[in-house]
């Protein structure tokens, strides 16, 4: 993200903010969708995060840390959604153009713990460093590594089991 764009948005320039939304919308929506596995929840999260970014953008202390700041907001909103969903049945609802492989991966992601999932997605999809993830999630770096270690192992196991069960059903 262009720092000058962030600074312009911080000064209240609507065009700069609109450009930020254009650049960030697919990234945030995809992230929320992988995390929640539901298009409706992902849309709600994306809308809410941009609303909060719009309201709080002039509070950023370091424009160069805009990415981490946005993902901190996104993680807070996703956690709220998870707390809400903890009392409900989880419905996986994916866009129609989702490939079979991608579908299995999203479902497998729902089978690991939310804490493991957030660390893995921030690392594997968003490419943050372990240190940056520790900052976003406000946890020690050792905990990030532990969540990634056990999360990746559990994810692989669930993904392979899903594929195997699917093939058995087709036979």
């Amino acid at each position: 993200m262009n720092e000058k764009m962030v600074e312009r948005a911080m000064r209240g320039e609507t065009e700069a903010f609109e450009e930020i939304v254009r650049q960030w919308e697919p990234r945030l929506y995809s992230f929320a969708l992988k995390h929640l596995g539901n298009v409706d929840d992902a849309k709600d999260i994306t809308q809410e995060v941009f609303f909060l970014v719009y309201r709080k953008i002039n509070q950023i202390k370091k424009p160069e840390s805009f990415s981490s700041w946005v993902f901190s907001i996104a993680m807070n909103e996703i956690r709220k959604m998870w707390r809400k969903r903890a009392r409900e049945r989880v419905e996986i609802k994916l866009p129609s153009h989702t490939s079979e492989k991608e579908g299995y991966a999203v479902i497998a992601l729902q089978m690991i713990t939310p804490e493991q999932r957030e660390a893995i997605l921030l690392k594997e999809i968003e490419g943050f460093s372990i240190k940056e993830i520790a900052g976003i999630l406000k946890i020690p770096e050792g905990t990030v590594k532990s969540r990634i270690f056990y999360g990746l192992k559990a994810l692989r196991k669930e993904y392979l089991r899903l594929k195997e069960e699917s093939h058995e059903r087709l036979q």
């Binding site: 009392r87 419905e91 996986i92 866009p95 129609s96 460093s129 590594k145």
Partner: protein, 145 residues
Amino acid sequence: MKDCSEYKKMLVSFLYREISPEEERIILEHLGTCEECREDLRELREAREILKSSFDEGEPYSVPVVIVEKRERLPWIAALFLLLFFVFLMGVKVKIGENNIEVSTMNSPSIYEYMVEYSEESTNFQPDLSDYKNYFENTEKGGEK
């Protein structure tokens, strides 16, 4: 000699090349002698490959965003009503406690039911996951340390 569990975090640093030269020397030396950690590393790499191949080829998702100004603070009368309601609920909770009724407030993620559907017309991918409630209850998940 360190216990294998102490190398797990180092393996993650090694996997992402976020490791100091000294730690890299230590983990490489350990991997040379430990079959279990070599297997862990192989599984971690396989999981990364699953994610990479699953998400890299897909079409990007998109959703129109509309920013609408909304009221952030509740009017004071609504806040007062909520406070009274909370006091009322506390009273109910005390009564439940007196009657020895246990109330569970949070479900474990392991008992979620999963159903899959698509937002528009369906594709060939239609896994039947309706029986997953029992499956999740009986599945042991990877824990954290």
